[in-house]
Amino acid sequence: MDAAIRTQGLGKRYGETVALNSLDLEIAPGEVYGYLGPNGAGKTTTIRLLLGLHRPSAGSAQLFGIDAAGDPVAAHRRVAYVAGEPFLWPALTSAETFEYLARLRGGADVAYREELVRRFKLDVDKKVRALSKGNRQKVQLIAALASRAELLILDEPTAGLDPLMEVAFRESVGEAKERGQTVFLSSHILSEVEALCDRVGILSGGRLVDEGTLEQLRHLSAHVVDVTFDGPAPRLPELAGVRVRRAGENALRCEVSGAIRPLLAALAEQPVVALSSREPSLEEIFLHHYDSGGEGEKALPLNLPRVGDGGGGR
């Protein structure tokens, strides 16, 4: 069986700027894949290449074994796409937009679409021109989900949605997953990715810097050890594979990659009152990559501003 998405050495440069560098992806049918990265990391560029909207400078991309740049029409029969910015026809109402998009595709699951319209609480007789960004986003989402396409490519699909609608979105993606649809979810919202995705790829500066299931990523990344002392936190000696940060007056947060024993030995002589060890959250994995990997990227706060990534690629 062909992979839903396969890229080999996929690269794109815009003039002097390398937007994407030698990307190798393989996503199996039925998989829900989270695609993470900061603004300008190359997420939207990847999607444009997958859809054949932009021509690759190097390598190739296939959807279900069909070359994305060579035969986009055949590939797109099996794909539905939700863009980061909703670009629709302002003079059409939502109902007319659904009809138009369905006719271009050659059909849609109308009963499911009506259910989605109720779920997302969309007024379908309103012209797109008069809709807020979040509501326009719903139009795109509903059209894509109701297409029942085998592969959903979603570029920050919840940008502009309120929390209730995010719940509706997660429910709908869950349904798609149950039905065996493949989902490629590019996102900033780590909780969303953590809740929905089987596998995660982290993109930074146009390169895929990490990839795997959440468990694998956690396993490969540093464990977090929080230590609280009786009194001011002491200075610990330099230890290989351990990064120490102050976490308040009396506490330290240690990121341990590799063996934990040297840290325990160093702590043994200190007045430790509490010690907890846990696996890193996706947020910590994510920030870890920005701190170290991505070409001078600074650690970003969680809940990054979500606007503007769509234009970042170009």
């Binding site: 444009r48 859809l51 054949g52 909207l53 932009h54 021509r55 986009p72 029409v73 055949a74 797109h76 029969r77 794909v79 539905a80 796409y81 863009a83 910015e85 670009f87 629709l88 026809w89 003079a91 109402t93 109902a95 007319e96 009809e99 138009y100 998009l101 006719r103 271009l104 595709r105 050659g106 007024d123 379908v124 007789d125 309103k126 012209k127 021109r129 008069a130 795109q140 490519i153 234009g311 170009r314």
Partner: protein, 529 residues
Amino acid sequence: MAAARAIARRSFADGRARNLSFALFFAVMALIQAVGYEHSYPTVKERLQFAASFGDNKAIRLFYGVPHDLVHIGGYVAWRSGGTLAIFVAVWGVFAAVRARRAEEDSGRQELILAAPLSRRTAFRAALLGVLGGAALLWLATWLGLLAGKLAAGPSAYLALAIVSVGLVFVGVGALVSELAPTRRLALGLGMIVFAVALALRIVADTSGALEWLRWASPLGWAEEMRPFTGARPAVLLLPAAATAGLLYAAARISLRRDVGTGVFSSGDRAAPRLRLLGGPTRLALRSERGTLAGWFAGIGLYAIVIGLLADTFSTANISQTLREQLHKLGGATIVTPTGALGFYFLIFTFAISLFACAQVSAARHEEAESRLETLFALPVSRRGWLGGRLALAAATALVLAMAAALLAWASAESQGSHVDLAAMLEAGLNCMPSALLFLGVSALALALVPRATALVAYGLVSVLFCWYLFGALLGVPQWTLDLSPFQHVALVPAQPFKLAEALVMLGLAALAIVASLWAFERRDVLGA
């Protein structure tokens, strides 16, 4: 005030490309007429002959207005450039003001600006100040062009002012329709309707003796009545000044009262679904362009009727050999019969329909610039199918437009008892097509190869080549440079026989350009604005 300065500067910069191309065009037009006159009519005798033959020529008045003095270079230039440039500057005014006001608001940027600590009054004034800066540039360019043509400084400045005064009135019109219409498109449409009415009034006034007073009802007529170089009447300047002030005042009043993002004519935000013409991108294009198409049909139809009515104004009895020769220099042929006159008039349709083809390709590029093609091409829609469909739609509508012009001109000529052969008129309609398709192909090629410059290449080429055809001959340049313009190879049907070989060459080139554009468009990145 810093904020106002920033807005005015932004507004001026937004119009930079338009202002510069118009300024260049104005300077060249002003210069070309002065040089052309010296070149074509070097002696007093020739000038007297020219003036005698043109004194009452209605066919020529239709385009250029009424001449007051054709024996001196100033009067000639005021007539030839004044009439033409007044038309161009009016269009400029509508576009510039709508760009600065309604397009800003349509895009949502105005909300951002009004969220800053500045009043709406300041925002309004500053945006229009930027537009007026553009008008000043046009005035300067025209003046410099006239000076370069060795005309006197003072009267040249006055002529340039008379021309630009028309633009100022239409800046006022553009500002007002921007307050009325909720979208940029509708605002432009309304502005162009006002322009068409003003032009129609001027034409009627200049071509029919009885209704001459109508000239006072049109800003284009006021510019004529200022009589630069022919007994200047600067008091007439009060009319455009008052009209501009009145229009801007009304627009400012409305802008202070209404909600941002809305217009006086509110568009319905809700509608029951209408499912016609949703079957594909070409059909949707027909659906969404129908307002624009109606405008083209109205404009072209109106002028077809006018020229049909005027076709009989020549009679062989009072036409002199001199006039024939003079007309030939203007690009006319034998216009001594109604058929001949229609052939001469149809030249304008050849240009208008070529322009229409360019406008259609620009509209297609606009779809892409607004990023809607990303949505479209993520669906199973082929790029070739999309562009091919748009081009086919443009070609088909251009054909319908041309044939409608031919039929209406024929019917209106017939109603005046001037007998024109219907078949010959249909041939005149068809004769508009080869050049229109050639420009369609070239514009499509621009869309495929230099997408962001599509409108510039399309409109620029068609305007420059048409003007070159009209005025290049006056400069006495080598024939091969004139032959570069496709319009040079369009016969004045029905006055001249249809040039089959030339038409076939143009159609062949058009087909090549279209095939190449389809090929190249499939192989490039889809590019936003």
